[in-house]
């Protein structure tokens, strides 16, 4: 799988190192040293994925992330400092699909890239279309409609919805979702799930504060419906 990566990172050594590593893994890499430049390139070259450093001069990584999100469903992986919880939470709220911690091993970054991009691959075992209340999920076309209107979802949001709606009424734990949607191991960060659920609710629920599709089961995880 050859992936077109847009790497936005201000430090030249890190940028060169990651470009080198990603290229070696067979990806094409386009580099930007600032958020402004990155957003320009995003519009010009339509990459498959954006790898984004949070600490950027000029407009910061969070703002870049929001603008990437607004521009379309291109997935974003954040580069963060280890366990800087504030950064992680803010980044996820800004719409990042996943994050890696600096200094990141190339194989870890590669695995995350591939996992994010695999989310757009269709599930062969599922029936093609499911209708849940006002929501229609087409698993073949990978589209979602609400009352006939198309809903624009990022690959991660779509994958999460497919996972949850694939077994309506069943509780899925955060760990299960981390493994099936993000392909993280058991020790993955469950805030990824929570942040993505929030974003998904904003798009598909009538009132996101009292969700009817993606419901929280306190202490266990999430359940789709019953609608």
């Amino acid at each position: 799988m050859m992936v077109h990566v847009l790497l936005i990172e201000d430090d030249k050594a890190v940028r060169d190192g990651l470009e080198f590593a990603l290229s070696r893994q067979g990806h094409t890499v386009q580099c930007s040293s600032s958020g402004e430049d990155g957003l320009t390139r995003l519009r010009g070259s339509s990459p498959d994925i954006v790898v984004l450093d949070l600490m950027l001069p000029g407009i910061d990584g969070f703002e870049v992330c929001r603008q990437v999100r607004a521009a379309g469903p291109v997935p974003v992986i954040m580069l963060t400092a280890r366990g800087d919880d504030f950064d992680v939470v803010s980044g996820l709220e800004a719409g990042a699909d996943d994050y890696v911690v600096k200094p990141v091993e190339p194989r870890v970054l590669d695995a995350r890239l591939r996992a994010v991009l695999r989310r757009t691959v269709r599930e062969p075992t599922q029936p093609d279309t499911g209708t849940y209340g006002d929501l229609t999920v087409d698993r073949a076309a990978l589209t979602v409609h609400k009352r006939g209107q198309p809903v624009s979802l990022t690959p991660t949001e779509l994958r999460l919805l497919l996972e949850l709606s694939g077994s309506p009424g069943r509780v899925l734990t955060r760990e299960q979702l981390l493994q099936s949607v993000w392909e993280h191991d058991y020790l993955g960060d469950s805030r990824l799930v929570d942040a993505c659920v929030q974003r998904l609710r904003m798009k598909i629920e009538d009132t996101p504060s009292t969700p009817s599709y993606v419901q929280t089961v306190r202490g266990f995880g999430y359940r789709f419906g019953p609608v």
């Binding site: 430090d11 050594a13 890190v14 060169d16 190192g17 990651l18 080198f20 590593a21 070696r24 580069l79 400092a81 280890r82 366990g83 919880d85 600096k102 200094p103 990141v104 091993e105 190339p106 194989r107 955060r174 191991d185 058991y186 020790l187 960060d189 469950s190 805030r191 202490g219 266990f220």
Partner: protein, 490 residues
């Protein structure tokens, strides 16, 4: 830290010897003694006056009665004459071995000294005596004839002192009552004075205790200019110096810690670049051959070590800065521990006893860090087999033990195993990852409100025991906020 003793803990004796009781007793005693002295003096004076007056009356009456004797005494007096004289003075008349029959005081009860004084001087002599338990004044004299010559007739008259005695007794009683009444204001005054002295002392004690509790901005208001206010001023100076010095130390320590944190963060950027290319270097090493291959391998291995070290430094800096946040989730402990072992490829090497179904609210990542550090340490420094056991000890706590079969921990290194960069054996120093693993594990246990202890197994080998509450305690959350620089092994 020594246990604080409240005043109630003190033995009874020393409590009774406290400043307040001592002051009260002293005041009361002073009041008592001075009152008693005044009362005794006035009593004595009053008594003397009353008694002397009575004595003078008796003496005068006797003398007058004799002078008014008409006809004057006949000499030598016969029995009848003696009776007349006795009647006149209403007493006893004696001449030679004869005496009047009316004897209010028998002659043998007249004190010999008095009688001797009467015979020798012939004047009126007075003395107080006690007859049948009653006080009397006894006046004795020798009768004189018209020319003032002594006649050899002795007379002795008595007067009861009962009413005078009653007066005197009343005096004594009222003195005692006044004394008793004076004690009350004396005690009140003493209490007031004690409060005046003790209030500043109590304020000082409270302030000193606040200071000991770490509230270094404690100061006392200086009142007046006596010795106690001098002490208060000295106390304030001391507290000020202490606050300044402690503040300085804390600032220096914070600076040091911040420097470590900053350095670690700065190191991360070049390390990210190095890490990105390390894999390539390692893969190419095989085809390089010779010295270049050796150099490439060393570079990649040491980059990995350096990365570990920097990550651990950042982690521990976060604990120092109070930025470590607990993110508890309901987890099955067996699953987390298994995942830790699996993720590090230890599943086949480590013996486990992990009953499933033990659920607790824990930070998964932090539990992973603790277990990984403990098992990693056991594998490096202990001898196989390494055993990980999980137990639910009671409703509120779970325990994870990691035991190896190595030589165990020497008693002298036991207190230091959780210290940063502590190397039990200098010869083995290089084999340790960063020297921070156990310190980080300890901090993570503490953040949960749990404890991590090092010891030795019953047989042989080191045993680390992690004891965690099933629910994160409020104190664990609170200590996360103000943990910087307190109690952690440095």
């Amino acid at each position: 830290m020594s246990r604080h003793r409240s005043p109630l803990d003190r033995p009874v004796l020393s409590r009774l010897l406290g400043l307040r009781p001592r002051l009260v007793v002293a005041f009361a005693l002073v009041a008592l003694f001075s009152g008693a002295a005044v009362a005794a003096a006035s009593y004595r004076q009053a008594r003397t006056i009353v008694l002397e007056k009575t004595q003078d009356q008796v003496a005068d009456r006797t003398r007058n009665s004799l002078e008014e004797l008409d006809p004057p005494p006949q000499l030598p007096p016969d029995q009848q004459e003696l009776e007349r004289i006795g009647d006149a003075i209403n007493g006893l008349a004696v001449y030679g071995d004869r005496r009047s029959s009316f004897q209010p005081v028998p002659l043998d009860r007249v004190p010999p000294q008095l009688r001797r004084a009467v015979r020798e001087r012939g004047r009126v002599v007075v003395q107080r005596i006690v007859l049948d338990g009653q006080p009397y004044v006894l006046a004795g004299t020798e009768v004189q004839d018209i020319r003032g010559q002594r006649t050899g007739i002795e007379v002795y008259a008595v007067q009861k002192l009962t009413s005078e005695q009653e007066t005197i007794d009343r005096l004594a009683r009222s003195a005692a009552i006044i004394l008793a009444l004076a004690l009350l204001p004396a005690v009140l005054l003493a209490l007031g004075a004690a409060a005046g002295v003790l209030r500043p002392v109590r304020d000082l004690r409270r302030a000193a205790r606040r200071l000991a509790e770490g509230r270094l901005d404690t100061r006392l208001r200086v009142r007046g200019s006596d010795e106690l206010s001098e002490l208060v001023r000295t106390f304030n100076t001391m507290a000020g110096k202490l606050q300044h010095n402690v503040g300085e130390l804390r600032r220096m320590e914070a600076n040091g810690r911040r420097f470590v944190a900053d350095v670690s963060h700065e190191l991360r950027t070049p390390l990210t670049a190095m890490t990105a290319v390390t894999d390539a270097l390692e893969e190419e090493a095989a085809s390089l051959g010779g010295d270049a291959a050796i150099a490439a391998r060393i570079m990649s291995t040491e980059t990995r070590r350096l990365r570990q070290l920097v990550e651990n430094l950042i982690e521990i800096s976060r604990f120092d800065a109070g930025g470590a946040v607990l993110r508890p989730e309901r987890v099955d402990l067996a699953a987390v521990v298994s995942a830790t072992l699996t993720a590090r490829g230890w599943t086949g090497i480590v013996h486990t006893d992990l009953p499933t179904g033990i659920v607790a609210e824990l930070d998964r990542r932090r539990l992973d860090v603790i277990v990984a550090n403990l098992v990693g340490n056991a594998l490096k420094h202990g001898a196989p087999p390494v055993t990980v056991e999980l137990r639910a000890v009671d409703r509120d706590h779970v325990v994870v033990t990691v035991t190896d079969r190595g030589p165990g921990l020497a008693p002298e290194i036991l207190p230091h195993v959780f210290e940063r960069f502590y190397k039990a054996d200098s010869a083995r120093a290089r084999s340790d990852g960063s020297g921070l693993g156990l310190a980080i594990a300890w901090e993570n246990a503490r953040l949960h409100g749990g404890v991590l202890e090092a010891g030795n197994a019953a047989g042989k080998g080191a045993r680390f025991t992690l004891r965690l509450p099933r629910h994160p305690t409020a104190s664990a959350a609170a200590t996360a906020a103000d943990r910087a620089g307190t109690g952690a092994p440095l």
